[in-house]
Amino acid sequence: MALAGVSFIQWLLGAMLIFSSLGVILAKKPMHSGLFFLLVLLTLAGFYLELSAQFIAAVQLLIYAGAILVIFVFVIVLFQDAHAQIIKYASRCKPLWLALAAFALTLTLVAVVFSLTLPPTVALHTDKPNFGTVQSLGIDLYSQFFFPFEVASLVILLAIVGVIYFAKKES
């Protein structure tokens, strides 16, 4: 089997990732889902460290766990009373069809994975001394990817303006 080179810590990280992403969709309370998502982010940061992408791991923790998840948790807390009233409405979807759809989807993905002709062993280029460091990433970002970088700043500016427009109360 092609799974020979997986170390103990990688098995642990993978199991934690699957467990916590299942927790996101299976938890009863929305706040618990948010906390499971935090666990997903921490585990992913562990994976990124394992793949020697230190900068991405740090950015993941700062932006995802520090900014995006905090907004999510704020809104979840804001809707505290609204979560409970969802069960008052009847669900429109039948559980049987949902289960069938999920099963078909999983089967499709499994078929895709096992029909791929994977290269037997992909050598990890961890020997490159400056792979994934802030310096070499910054050089690539500001030379090769300068235009997308500027567009990204524009996207964020548009998001700010749009959110202010949505949040404004009609008077």
């Binding site: 092609a2 799974l3 080179g5 997986v6 170390s7 990688q10 993978g14 990732l17 699957i18 992403s21 299942l22 996101v24 969709i25 997903v40 982010l41 992913l44 994976f47 990124y48 394992e50 793949l51 992408a53 991405i56 950015v59 993941q60 995802y64 995006i68 907004i71 999510f72 809104v75 979840i76 809707f79 609204a82 969802i86 409405y89 669900s91 759809a101 999920a102 989807l105 999983t106 993905l109 994975v113 791929l116 290269p119 992909v122 990890l124 280029h125 961890t126 490159k128 070499s136 990433l137 690539d140 970002l141 090769q144 996207v155 548009l158 998001a159 749009g162 959110v163 949505f166 949040a167």
Partner: protein, 99 residues
């Protein structure tokens, strides 16, 4: 780390995200499932960047983070606005555009 291992993990995370987005009726959890899918894609990006020794994949992760941040801000503002109008966070009740 073999490709198959990362691929199975990333795809199962993506599938969990899709199932969550289809099943969840709470608008916030629906959104959280979309974040799961984005993160599954990010994991593959980082792995391929690593295995080919090419940093472009890491930069794509960077841009995915930017888009995710903008998307979450706008999406949550939309959900709050919808909640103000309908007093409900159930996505099944947001059916004003249904013909």
């Amino acid at each position: 780390m073999p490709l198959l291992y990362i691929m199975v993990i990333s795809l199962s995370m993506f599938t969990i995200g899709i199932i969550g987005a289809l099943v969840k009726r709470n608008a916030l959890l629906f959104f959280l499932s979309i974040e799961l899918m984005l993160n599954a894609a990010n994991l593959l990006f980082v792995y391929f960047a690593q295995s080919w020794g090419n940093q472009i994949g890491l930069l794509w992760v960077f841009f995915v983070l930017v888009i995710a941040a903008a998307e979450v801000a706008i999406g949550l503002a939309l959900i709050i606005n919808l909640f103000r109008q309908k007093q409900v966070v159930d996505v099944d009740q947001y059916n004003d555009l249904r013909g």
